[in-house]
Symmetry: D2
Subunit: 309 residues, 4 copies
Amino acid sequence: MSDLQEIVSEIVDAMRAREDRGEVATYIPELARVDPGAFGIAVIDREGNVAVGGDADTPFSIQSISKVFTLTLALGKVGDRLWSRVGREPSGSPFNSIVQLEREQGLPRNPFINAGALAVTDVIVSGHQPREALGEILRFMQFLGQDGAIAIDQAVAASEQRTGFRNRALANYMKSFDRLDNAVDFVLGVYFHHCAIAMSCRQLATAGRFLAHLGRNPETGLSVVQPDRARRINALMLTCGHYDGSGEFAFRVGLPGKSGVGGGILAIAPGKASIAVWSPGLDPSGNSHLGRIALEELTRRLGWSIFGM
Amino acid sequence: MSDLQEIVSEIVDAMRAREDRGEVATYIPELARVDPGAFGIAVIDREGNVAVGGDADTPFSIQSISKVFTLTLALGKVGDRLWSRVGREPSGSPFNSIVQLEREQGLPRNPFINAGALAVTDVIVSGHQPREALGEILRFMQFLGQDGAIAIDQAVAASEQRTGFRNRALANYMKSFDRLDNAVDFVLGVYFHHCAIAMSCRQLATAGRFLAHLGRNPETGLSVVQPDRARRINALMLTCGHYDGSGEFAFRVGLPGKSGVGGGILAIAPGKASIAVWSPGLDPSGNSHLGRIALEELTRRLGWSIFGM
Amino acid sequence: MSDLQEIVSEIVDAMRAREDRGEVATYIPELARVDPGAFGIAVIDREGNVAVGGDADTPFSIQSISKVFTLTLALGKVGDRLWSRVGREPSGSPFNSIVQLEREQGLPRNPFINAGALAVTDVIVSGHQPREALGEILRFMQFLGQDGAIAIDQAVAASEQRTGFRNRALANYMKSFDRLDNAVDFVLGVYFHHCAIAMSCRQLATAGRFLAHLGRNPETGLSVVQPDRARRINALMLTCGHYDGSGEFAFRVGLPGKSGVGGGILAIAPGKASIAVWSPGLDPSGNSHLGRIALEELTRRLGWSIFGM
Amino acid sequence: MSDLQEIVSEIVDAMRAREDRGEVATYIPELARVDPGAFGIAVIDREGNVAVGGDADTPFSIQSISKVFTLTLALGKVGDRLWSRVGREPSGSPFNSIVQLEREQGLPRNPFINAGALAVTDVIVSGHQPREALGEILRFMQFLGQDGAIAIDQAVAASEQRTGFRNRALANYMKSFDRLDNAVDFVLGVYFHHCAIAMSCRQLATAGRFLAHLGRNPETGLSVVQPDRARRINALMLTCGHYDGSGEFAFRVGLPGKSGVGGGILAIAPGKASIAVWSPGLDPSGNSHLGRIALEELTRRLGWSIFGM
């Protein structure tokens, strides 16, 4: 067993033994049904060695982690013109706050708060039927995750369609400032569905490899984005990837990362590894409680913090 | 001439040729007298090689860059208890905003906005006379900068004492929530004076070396803080070091950094170098305009971004 | 010609001669088609004497003035339980602000901002089909306005249905806090339609008479609400009836009043008269520019201010 | 015994019997020493008939009620130019909020929130020594209250000087936007002292008579302000006189009024009477709990609401 696999296994044991697990998100009814005791982790290093533990092959709802990939797609589509549609600053507010939108006339602060991700989705939808846009996103995830079986959890998507009043408010609010080109329902439909993509830790860590290695998967050699773009997506994950807990994540874990309310976190150790963890219980900022603790332990033991090696 | 020195010299030439220089801060009258055409840079690598250019030996008012060092001092004094006094999240607001303080009952979001730095200064003042506290800060700067001639610019300090109404408002506001232990005037006096410390780029880059090398100066071997603490200070600089332009700085430069309205920026390339730049003209977020551009060019050419090497 | 009619005629002449007319609302496309030069006024005193001038018989879109009457209906339906659904304080914000809703968890400040009116409409809709609820509101207006021909302008209603993104955002936002009992689309549909009721100044002044006379129409003798309720509706109009221009209206006109973006204002001189004015050009707070000036002149000449007679 | 006296006596009895008394303000330490069971009331009608009850002759700290009189003085000094220094709209925020000041660049919303009263005090101070300005205010109160013994409670003033950090924050904040002409400490000194004026209900009701009768005391015949100005001060009291409880006061009591954290309320029944009540316990908005209830009962029984007689 490799050192990395040993550390991963020890972390899984330690996490399984903890009683503090955070609270499973209930605002999307379908998500509330998940097993609160689940825990999975997958780490893939530069050479392609994979260390996994726990429920690393159980698919979960990636939710906001999908925003990293829709951002990548939208940048590929319109390049830096995207930044006229969404900012690059931490919001200092919860993920679904609407206050900042009023102060800044409907322009979202960054692509990882819900409003910003809606703007990004709007860019992807433009020129397509919603179904096509969604297909493009899903195929991108299957390509990056190297698994054609990656799919949308339709029950979760339907659950959000029924209950996503806050996102519906954000989208209409942006539309009132003329910040969405497409019909509100189209954008929301695609957004709810790409958030409902289900992936395992193994698939997710695979999908994130291009971010750890200057834009290309070191194994396949396929380039996804230019090196600079990969760096900048990582920078955005570090400053904005955990909503109003982004500072805390940077402080404790020291890696760029993006969380989702499904309990997943994708973290990137530049030059070293792509990491995915999953534990459904959330902390008050809406980020996976044990997921963050596991990553803190992992980077501490491996000295992977980008802030001093 | 080393490669590093060559790059530094080319950057100085490029910056001197630019006509966009931002606006010199005028809200502190004394600062407005500085030469808007000044530009300096100093880079010190792990081995102690120093590459300098332009006005690298002209002292300037470090202003908010001092907050990195008072944070270091306060952490040394009270350890992690400091975090009950100040948060660790980006504020999503300008440096002198008071709105967030009302929403969060006088608890500042992070140690690098003015309110947070006042809380940190309050911790340093406790148990001292103001004069002693200030002496402690100044000696710490002389020790880190390896130059006993580092001094406070009394004209700048006096200028802020006379005109610093916004900071006076912040301090009284925090006091009204019982968030300062010491007399408002004591805390403000020490704060205005440590912001008025004058240092050259060379001195500042020297002072920042412990942050680039896990808490110790690799040349002298003297340890300033534990490795983890150095990492965490860097993480805070990255997420909060440039006020409401922190996301932009991370996105473009890709290094932890701290700016001051005097036009200086201290940037840290972990494991590689400590860097100081100075150009008095500011961008709308209050950060050195050419300083940021010079750092962007430097890290691009050297591949020093922490987000992908 | 009575003194009152003479004053009214002079005011009409003065208003027609003015060149400052404000700006016609354009955010509802259909409203933008109105003649910006239109001006009408109707005053009905206790004895039923009617003084009219200008376009007093031209129907216009009453828009937010309808909120006075839906409030009256909802109070009749659920009594003071209504106040668990909506507050009674001025908002200090524009009519369509969403910031206050976030701070106060979806509970609107008063029944005259859009969010509050949506809560009131929700109460009226409960237990009905939307079409029935709308019919009830329309019949109430026909009864109060003593004219069975009062109708909804379907083109305006359709225009708002297509473009009312801000109101759609507010309703979804409230729904996300569980502040609406009925389906968002039902509530919005009824809301857009009752705002699209078209009435003339004469009809509107007639409809407002119960508010001037302790809850009953002094001519027909029919009681609409108890005296105390009439007083309280007037109090709400005074403090909240002109959005973020309510203080100004009270200061200058000195009467309870409610404006609409169609350019109408209903004003109440308690014990004396019910007054309706209409001029489509709006001031920056969204209230009829000449309408307010005409009312100021009228109350000044008649000594009708409630703040000193 | 007159009818009015009888009603007043019954109200005193009813208030004394109640157990809900609100909470005495503690943020000014000296105010916390007052007897929470105190209750006083004085009503003076047009003819000069005085009905009193309870502790009507006990002096109490008028606190913010003084703002009505400093507003009157400042309007006398600079006329409508005052309105370039302070607005006329309800704030929708607590009395000491600083958020609105940031949004509106240091311009206070109205003269009755603390920031606005500081702007008004600044106008009075201009061209004077602080001591003279304070003398002018005090003499004005003695003149209006028809009692040369009216004085400043120096212990209360000193208590506020020591602990008034929030007001000190507001004043410095305004100064940072250049919204105060005079030294912050001068303005605060005068402000703290005029808030510390002590008056009885009888004196206060006497002082308010000019507001009930178009600007002049009907007994002495002395004119204090023009009729229009009296109306407008009343309008401001109605919309802004009870901070974030102004809507509630208008809704329930239906009279212009101004409260102070000392537990006093001055209420004006235009054309009818000037009324002062005092009960130290406050409601959550910072207004006298029993004072408001007593006024509600009084106006209900006498039909004095300005919203329908």
